[in-house]
Point group: C2
Chain length 390, copies 2
């Protein structure tokens, strides 16, 4: 690794001697080389055991290459499963970052700014914001070099990096599930568990915009439960219930009240929790309706309710936004564009976030702890790296 | 009940005095009255506890009415669940058969002959064979009177009553599942458990006719296993395996061999057993494929395989032929017609049967035992009432 580190170290010394602290480090790219840092893994394992901060330099882009400076990269649960090796999409192993053995960069989602481009690049300018076209890019890094076909330009006008950096996974998942399942029409209902998740909050808001109504299931919080209910209702949730309430005897009658005496139909259920909750939900659906699973947070198995399956034609599907995006790249771009446009108009709110600023001097431990903290679920909002003075 | 029995008893005395034993009792309908017997239930319960044989008389048909003499009525597992009260379709409760309290007639499937019709009936003639249009008709009886719109005429040419009497449920279930799920094309594969069931045998044969290939899962029999395998292969099964073989380590490699190195795809699974077998099967399916459940013979729960659901897009559906038939009456007629036409041409074999002849003098105990025996699974073939000298 020594040879690849030599140049960056020299550059850093140069920067530290020539530029005052309040100047962006980016001015150094006048020399044409970028000093980059990345959270990498040499093999699968627990994030705290395998992740480390790696420095390398990026040469000036030629041909179809672009150099990116990352602005914001979220820490999604799937990123952690990918590091652990239990996710079907593997990270991209490479020796291109100057390591003797192949490593991969963590993270799959994010937004970056074009800071340099090769002479063969068209359609992208310095200063443009881009998101990643595919899973496995490795977004937990300050800079990257790639080809222009691997990124998708977004209109940054009026948007914050954390809004653009979190649009690809959760909002698109909610968008497609509400569109592609249950043949929903204005006035129809859907139910969802994990309603406070990124997907859940996106689904509440999109449903409201499209005229669908929602029954939202959340865990009972010891503290702040009423605040959470109020929060989800302010996003557009019609009904918020706890899983205990869902299982309660009177719930069927309540559902009848919500749905105008049963004249309005519940035509879709979204599930990211699993366990008995799924059957408790499925029995309120109109005959022929789908239950769409996009997560398994409780790690509890779901038992197929045979009677509902055979006699009520309730059907069970999975949704994985990565597979969908790979099959439908243009639809994915359209989805991103529409969500960002709604965000810009103030009609779509991003989720509560718990950002960690990643500067040039941020230590490995801080970064790794941010990932491990997301895994252990003790964050107050979505974990996201916001890149500062890199 | 006494009044309703008076006339039949008189008629029976008359018949016994006037007609030699080898003459069909039907000649008595010259008097215009039919002496009928039916296996009825006064309420839900175990068949052996609630079923009894009830006699009543049927007056000459007027207007749109037809009088039927049953020829063959199978004993389906669903009929027994219906008697037990655990089936979603309830039997038809009525006092029309001369009982003081409402009773229902058991059985849902069967074939009958028109023996008399009202002056307003068109399109049906004496001697025509008919099947029931709907569930809940009550087919475990010697005679019935109904309106012509409740029955569907079938072309009896070249067919045996037991072939026509068993066409509506099992063969139509197989037919629709192979057609409506998995987007099957010639050369595609499907897997099914319970391959020796009525539906299973029908699916093997239809698949063969349509150019689909099948992997058929059966329980290992202590005796006669090789005969069973030979039997299913003679119907057109490409592969027959036991559930142990399915779970075996080398099965994935075997599947690869069957499917031409994996170039041919397994695009559908049919399930009537439940339990862990379903997951063992689902993992061999091509991404995006459906598992269709039409029964739950093992009474073991099925755990939704979350990884397959989300990442491989395996989806889970139920199929209930009654619901389908109610929604698609014309398609049901077409399906029946096609299966019977294949039967007539010798291309479709009915399943092994264990008939009980139901004559005028057959005792209640014999009939009830035939039903209870189906429930307890100790029959050598499908239980079916074949009506003789009624």
């Amino acid at each position: 690794m020594a040879p690849s580190r030599a140049a960056p170290t020299a550059l850093r010394a140069l920067r530290q001697s020539h530029f005052p602290n309040n100047l962006s480090r980016r001015s150094i790219s006048a020399y044409g080389y970028e000093q980059a840092k990345a959270l990498i893994l040499p093999n699968h394992g627990e994030p705290k055991d395998v992740l480390r901060l790696h420095s390398h330099s990026i040469s000036p882009p030629t041909g179809d290459a672009v150099t990116l400076r990352f602005l914001a990269s979220p820490i999604n649960p799937a990123d952690i499963n990918q590091i652990q090796g239990v996710y079907p999409t593997k990270p991209t192993w490479t020796t291109n970052l100057g390591t003797p053995d192949p490593i991969a960069v963590g993270g799959n989602e994010g937004v970056a700014e074009i800071i340099a481009k090769g002479s063969g690049v068209s359609g992208l300018q310095k200063g443009d914001w881009v998101i990643m076209k595919r899973q496995g890019f490795g977004t937990w890094r300050t800079h990257a070099q790639t080809t222009s076909s691997e990124v998708v330009k977004v209109d940054k006008e009026g948007l914050k990096p954390e809004q653009v950096g979190t649009v690809s996974v959760n909002p698109c998942t909610a968008y497609r599930m509400l569109n592609d399942f249950g043949n929903m029409k204005e006035g129809d209902w859907f139910m969802q568990n994990g309603a406070n998740s990124g997907v859940g909050r996106a689904a509440i808001q999109l449903a409201k915009l499209w005229g669908y109504k929602s029954i939202n299931i959340v865990r009972k919080r010891e503290q702040g439960h009423e605040d959470l209910v109020r929060d989800l209702k302010s996003l557009g949730a019609d009904v918020v219930v706890t899983d205990e309430e869902l299982r309660g005897k009177g719930f069927r009658d309540q559902v009848k009240e919500f749905t105008n005496g049963g004249r309005e139909k519940i035509k879709l259920a979204l599930n990211c929790v699993g366990g008995p909750l799924v059957n408790d939900t499925a029995k309120h659906l109109a005959p022929g309706s789908p239950v769409v699973t996009y997560g398994a947070m409780s790690k509890q198995p779901v038992q197929l309710p045979m009677g509902l399956l055979i006699f009520k034609d309730i059907n069970f599907h999975g949704f994985w936004v990565s597979r969908w995006a790979d099959k439908n790249p243009q639809q994915k771009e359209d989805c991103v564009k529409e969500i960002l446009s709604l965000t810009r108009e103030g009609k779509f709110q991003d989720i509560p976030m718990d950002p960690l600023t990643w500067d040039y001097d941020t230590k490995q431990d801080e970064l790794v702890n941010a990932v491990q903290g997301t895994l252990e679920g003790f964050r107050s909002g979505k974990g996201i790296f916001k890149f500062g003075n890199t």
